[in-house]
């Protein structure tokens, strides 16, 4: 696979975004010699787990990103530091979190554009909040309208909408709520100009090898039937499917999903 610069892994809550994002970092690491980083957007990564998996994390703390950005705009780091310390400014940032979202995203894109060898995989917030992040450039474009900031915002949207630079993984698990949320998300991402999307089904019990070959007790049989019904009724064609694995220790899960990503993408 020819790697993109930025991967966004999202979907409903609990569908396996964290496990899959980590597995994707591992898969990319084994396919390229570039620096592949794992990022958790506005939450802190599980550093212990990353260390065990030999995964490098990259963070863009809002305070620092903003100081750097404002510093560049005003041509003075000191003024920027002073601005960020002003109580009113702090209060403003707290009450308008999407402003912070946009600056974080902008800093991330800047970094990627300056470092040819960097790739970032974002373990993104779930559906409702990733849309807030991805719509933030559009919203602030409307707010600022003209001026120096708008050019930066356009550079951001151009980057985000490029199919060669960004790939978004929408994860689903085989339940009605998760798959519906996945469909809604793909539609809304499309409206934000994001169309390079991989539609992924995770945690599919019916794809587990042991389960598929055995005489099952009634409740597991029922679960498998339900999963298949859900997928059929919602008429979804997934680009990638990961089974439900029995051993849920995170290291094992990440390794298994990584393997699956590599074999499926070779097809």
């Amino acid at each position: 696979m020819s790697p993109k610069k930025l991967y966004i892994v999202t979907g409903k809550g609990g569908v396996g975004k964290t496990m899959t994002a980590l597995a994707l970092v591992k898969a990319l690491q084994s396919q390229t010699s570039k620096n592949v980083y794992y990022n958790c957007f506005d939450t802190t990564p599980d550093k212990e787990l990353c260390k065990k998996l030999d995964i490098k994390t990259i963070e863009f703390p809002i305070q620092e990103s903003t100081t750097e950005y404002i510093g560049r705009k005003l041509g003075s780091k000191n003024i920027a530091k002073w601005v960020m310390k002003a109580p009113f400014f702090k209060a403003l940032f707290n009450i308008v979190p999407s402003l912070g979202n946009m600056i974080t995203l902008g800093h991330m894109i800047d970094t990627l554009q300056n470092e040819d060898d960097d790739i970032i995989v974002i373990d993104a917030p779930s559906s409702g909040h990733i849309l807030t992040v991805l719509e933030s450039p559009k919203n602030f474009n409307q707010i600022f309208r003209t001026g120096a900031l708008v050019k930066d915002i356009h550079r951001m949207t151009d980057f985000m909408q490029s199919d060669d630079l960004v790939e978004t993984w929408v994860l689903n698990i085989p339940t009605e709520l998760a798959v519906t949320e996945g469909r809604e998300l793909i539609e809304k991402l499309g409206k934000s100009g994001i169309s390079n999307i991989k539609d992924v089904l995770n945690n599919a019990l019916f794809k587990n090898e042991l389960i598929a070959n055995e005489e099952l007790p009634e409740f597991l049989d029922r679960k498998v039937t339900i999963e298949k019904e859900v997928i059929k009724s919602l008429d979804s064609n997934f680009d990638l499917v990961f089974p439900m694995y029995i051993d849920k220790s995170p290291i094992q899960l990440v390794k298994r999903i990584e393997k699956k990503i590599l074999t499926e993408l070779k097809k």
């Binding site: 609990g14 005003l74 009113f88 707290n94 409702g128 807030t132 707010i143 709520l177 007790p217």
Partner: protein, 336 residues
């Protein structure tokens, strides 16, 4: 379980907050209580669970409880949060201001802030016996909890005096000192350099509109305190037996410790252990499978047993329609 004014369901992603809170609200209404179920998650899955239309967003809607096999019950209303409608109510109408109207759109980012104001408003109305609250996953729930503080600090009296002064140019000397010491005038000069004059004008207008309604924003903003009051709230930390998320559940318990009291419950959802225990098999590979699954369910119970929190367990319901799942879960509240 005691009756309270508000019940909060929180937890990491996909553990069943929306499903379980809907079943709880329906159960409470079957106890002849008048209940309002509010979801503050912009993903709005509750609409699918209850069969609501998108157009119901921001409007309190009566739920036909007979659809869930509850005859003879109290009353259940539901509300899918619309940040825009909440703000318009506070401001007394739609605003023309470009900044405010953009930010209060569905994905504008004001969700958690508006959520606190809406929940507070519904509590103040005092029309319901209980409000059941379905929250967004993880960090955004914490954002919600911290919103009262954020609102209070934004509406700091000093800021509003200063901005009033900038607007009206009537200068009592005291304020002038404040203006200089707050640094706001300097801030605005820098802002103008980067954003241009148009934005600064919009910005000042927006601040004025908001500070004009300062009282509505902070009057009665005691949600944070109320939630900590044992006579006022029940907390349900939802976890899922099929998710082994290392530190997440613990982190949430610890983070919410500041906000909680003794009437809280750890709700372990989607448990398989009853089914697993009833499953007899001789086949070695299946015995292993069963034991592994049982072992993993126990890890969750053990890892959280160090916290003095009452545990309740809900089984996985093997149905594909969310409404059917909810229907069955109602009876589990009865048997508690």
């Amino acid at each position: 379980m005691k009756n309270k004014k508000i019940e909060v369901f929180c937890g990491t992603g996909g553990v069943g907050k929306t499903t379980i809170s809907a079943s709880r609200a329906l159960y409470l209404s079957s106890q002849k209580r008048k209940v309002l179920l509010i979801t503050i998650d912009p993903a709005k899955r509750l609409k699918q669970v209850l069969g609501l239309e998108d157009s119901a967003t921001g409007e309190i809607t009566k739920i036909e409880t007979s659809n869930f096999n509850l005859s003879d019950s109290g009353e259940l209303h539901a509300l899918l949060l619309s940040p825009e409608k909440t703000l318009n109510r506070i401001l007394g109408g739609k605003t023309e201001n470009n900044i405010i109207s953009t930010l209060s759109k569905p994905y504008g980012g004001m969700n958690e802030i508006m959520a606190v104001l809406e929940v507070q408003h519904q509590l103040n109305k005092n029309e319901y016996d209980t409000i059941v609250l379905d929250t967004p996953p993880g960090k955004h729930f914490i954002d919600f909890l911290e919103s009262s503080k954020k609102i209070q600090s934004f509406f700091d009296k000093n800021f509003s005096e200063v901005f009033n002064f900038i607007g009206k140019r009537n200068k009592p000397g005291r304020i002038l000192t404040k203006l200089v010491s707050s640094g706001i005038d300097k801030l605005l000069t820098y802002l103008e350099k980067v954003t241009g004059k148009g934005f600064v004008n919009d910005f000042l207008e927006a601040i004025h509109i908001l500070y004009d309604h300062r009282d509505v924003f902070i009057n009665g903003l005691h949600l944070e305190k109320d939630l900590m009051n044992v006579d006022f709230s029940n907390w349900f930390l939802v976890t899922s037996a099929d998710q082994l998320k290392g530190s997440d559940a613990k982190e949430l318990i610890e983070a919410s410790n500041r906000f909680m009291h003794k009437d809280n419950y750890l709700l372990i959802n989607k448990s398989w252990h009853k089914f697993l225990e009833e499953w007899t098999t001789d086949k070695q590979s299946l015995v292993q499978l069963r034991d592994k699954l049982l072992e993993q369910e126990n890890v969750i119970k053990e890892s959280t047993s160090q916290y003095s929190i009452q545990q309740i367990e809900f089984p996985e319901i093997f149905e594909n329609s969310p409404a059917k799942q909810v229907k069955e879960l109602i009876s589990h509240w009865k048997s508690l």
